[in-house]
């Protein structure tokens, strides 16, 4: 659970970063990685400088060596001053950001401020780069302030324009890399979630106990063993398919729950009674596959399994008009187990994952219109009741039942 939390946090950060691409740092990046990317930018800038030098050599026919050294030095120094200016500029820009937010960690001051940094940086870069080149080659550069105005402007543009283009190039590369990192994290997260979901549905304890029962039944009552195996197959198939198909009819959902509870009934004997209530007019309504499964599992695991005398699980679908006058599909899973008060400790792991997962699915599919509520049952039988409400209008078109589907029974 804790690992998942950390991933969520990171994902959250990435999301805000993707929406607001201020950061030139990547999630989870170490200082040495950041440093090596500085070095790469320095080398690249020098190389671009050298390339510009080659162009100038081609155009003017000055000495190749001198031109190369001059333009490489200017390229390197422009990078130095621009990258150096970028950090304090972004610090200043984001000085009001709360610590820990992506803005506070950002090294990107935004374009207007960055233009200023580029301008100052390339002026400084041009003059220091020129001085260094003069010191290396022994040949003086035409000073910015020594020539005519048009000469100064041309020289300034020769470093300013490449600096701008290169900065833009670096910036877009970083944004793309950050987006890629975000996408990768999201993909990994989704895969992890799906694995966890499968793991929770194909819980080894449930699976091995069911197989143990099956093994016994094969010797005792082969026809019943076969029926049980069919139910197990249907349950496994539905579980594995659930992540692939987006919805199925409510009566198919009930049929899968019936399979699962029949398996549990075989294990728990008379400690488990079941009741299903599905009005015929609701049978074809589409719902996400196995939406109710985690709720039924919770009822078993935290309600009835810990209770010595066992009890009943009731799965009910009904149509109700909400207080706001909206027609809603109401799905209820109610057990007569030990209730919620005594599961305080247990609710920390399994229950919460199950409930969170159901809530997330509802939120993804129906936004804020749908909801899940878990409460203590308020009648004499006790236990817990989980209620899902979805506006019927949000569900979509009814699914016409295939000919071979099981008939719903009330």
């Amino acid at each position: 659970m804790r690992t998942a939390g950390r991933h969520d946090e990171r994902l959250g950060q990435n999301r805000s970063m993707a929406a607001n691409p201020l950061d030139l740092t990547r999630p989870g990046e170490h200082t040495h990685e950041r440093r090596s990317r500085y070095a790469v930018r320095a080398l690249r800038s020098t190389a671009y400088g050298a390339f510009i030098g080659l162009c100038i050599f081609g155009l003017t026919g000055h000495s190749l060596w001198t031109t190369l050294v001059q333009s490489s030095c200017i390229g390197l120094m422009c990078w130095f001053f621009i990258d150096l200016g970028r950090v304090p500029a972004s610090k200043w820009k984001h000085r009001h950001a709360a610590p820990g937010t992506p803005e506070a960690d950002s090294h990107w001051p935004g374009w207007p401020l960055m233009m200023l940094v580029i301008f100052v940086g390339s002026v400084l870069g041009f003059s220091t780069g020129g001085t260094i080149a003069e010191w290396i080659t022994g040949r003086p550069m035409i000073g910015m302030l020594r020539g005519s105005l048009s000469q100064t402007v041309a020289l300034l543009l020769s470093s300013l324009v490449p600096a701008l283009v290169i900065t833009y190039w670096f910036y877009s590369r970083e944004i793309i890399a950050a987006h890629e990192a975000t996408a990768q994290t999201a993909q990994r997260q989704a895969a992890e979630n799906q694995l966890k979901l499968l793991e929770s549905q194909l819980e080894p304890h449930m699976l091995f106990n069911t197989l143990a029962n099956l093994r016994v039944l094969i010797g005792l009552d082969p026809p019943r063993a076969q029926a049980m195996l069919d139910q197990l197959i249907a349950f496994l198939r539905a579980t594995l398919n659930a992540s692939r198909s987006s919805s199925h009819a409510l009566d198919a959902e009930f049929a899968r729950l019936r399979d699962y509870l029949a398996l549990m009934q075989l294990r728990m004997g008379d400690r488990l009674q079941t009741r299903f209530e599905l009005p015929a007019e609701l049978a074809a309504l589409p719902i996400p596959p196995l939406l109710l499964q985690p709720l039924v599992e919770n009822s078993i695991k935290h309600g009835l399994e810990p209770k010595i005398e066992g009890g009943q699980i009731e799965v009910r679908a009904s149509r109700q008009r909400s207080a706001a006058g909206i027609d809603e599909l109401v799905l209820q899973v109610r057990d007569t187990g030990i209730g919620l008060a005594d599961t305080a400790a247990a609710s920390a792991d399994g229950t919460r994952f199950g409930l969170t997962q159901v809530r997330e699915r509802l939120a993804t599919l129906y936004g804020g219109q749908a909801g899940l509520n878990l409460a203590q049952a308020d009648d004499a039988q006790g236990g817990a009741v989980a209620t899902i409400r979805v506006p019927i209008a949000a569900l979509g078109e009814p699914i016409t039942r295939p000919a071979n589907a099981t008939t719903p029974t009330a």
Binding site: H205, F208, A212, V216, I308, A344, A345
Partner: protein, 285 residues
């Protein structure tokens, strides 16, 4: 003639319970199954009443887990009843439990139960019972070898109960929480804030826990198993499945011949008893 070995089965799933019984009858015809029960509390009652030689305990059972049942049997086992029964745990899948079983050399079988493994287990239990019987014949009553066998079983259980993550696996408790500094106990309409340093000991009472200080006692609605992870285990020692005592509130500890340790407290007249499972905590430096 040597009496038949007697066994107890505790398994909540009726088909599996019946199957384990019939498999045992087939593999070990001399074994007499004296009780086949569906939950932990019933297993403890039946074990104490029937005093079997071997108990097969499912781990996940309603009410009380197999581990808790094993602890209760070991703690409440009468002094004159001879050696503790051999314990064989039965489980479908419990990651932590399996590690702990391996680590403490406790016998276990996995569900679905395979003939081969059950045969092995039966042979092992038979060997253990035989060596125990030999010890019993050489001297009447609780001989030194019987005592040694008892100690061995106790240390196995001790290892098992202390195994990391096992309590969490059996009761699915919360991740490590911050330690409590104050106990909030409701008395009438008021909440009394009892500093943890004032607590002499905690005692389980059904679903409640009694909190005893030098001045008075409180009742809190938290099960002891939920409270335990919230207590600093260097300051508060569990001395029985139902008792946790503040170590520096203990004045003296006296071990009796059955292996239990009788404690007196500073500033309180209550006497506490540490079970044999926790007796090893009290040793002279």
């Amino acid at each position: 003639m040597k009496p038949r070995a007697r066994a107890l089965i505790a398994e909540d799933e009726p088909l599996l319970a019946a199957n384990l019984q019939s498999e045992l009858e087939r593999l070990w015809p001399e074994l007499e199954i004296v009780a086949n029960v569906r939950h932990g509390a019933a297993a403890v009652d039946a074990a104490l009443a029937q005093r079997p030689d071997v108990v097969f305990l499912d781990i996940r059972m309603p009410g009380m887990t197999g581990l808790e049942a094993a602890q209760a049997i070991a703690e409440d086992w009468p002094d004159d009843a001879g050696a503790l029964p051999a314990i064989v745990f039965v489980t479908a899948y419990d990651q932590y439990a399996l590690q702990a079983f391996e680590h403490s050399a406790v016998d276990y079988v996995l569900k679905p139960i395979q003939n081969e493994r059950l045969t092995q287990t039966c042979t092992r239990v038979q060997t253990a019972l035989k060596s125990r019987a030999a010890a019993g014949e050489s001297r009447d009553g609780v001989g030194p070898n019987t005592a040694a066998a008892l100690d061995a079983t106790l240390s196995q259980l001790r290892n098992l109960l202390g195994a990391p993550g096992l309590a969490a696996a059996a009761t699915s408790s919360t991740p490590p929480a911050a330690k409590l500094s104050v106990i909030q106990a409701s008395v009438g309409t008021a909440i009394h804030m009892v500093p943890i340093a004032d607590v002499l000991y905690f005692e389980a009472a059904d679903k409640y826990v009694r909190v005893i200080t030098a001045q008075r006692e409180y009742l809190i609605r938290t099960a002891l198993r939920e409270l335990l992870p919230l207590l600093d285990d260097t300051r508060f020692w569990q001395i029985h499945r139902g008792t946790v005592v503040r170590a520096d509130a203990i004045a003296t500890a006296v071990r009796d011949e059955s292996g239990k340790v009788h404690l007196t407290l500073r500033g309180h007249t209550d006497k506490l008893v540490a079970s044999r499972l926790y007796a090893h905590l009290f040793k002279a430096m």
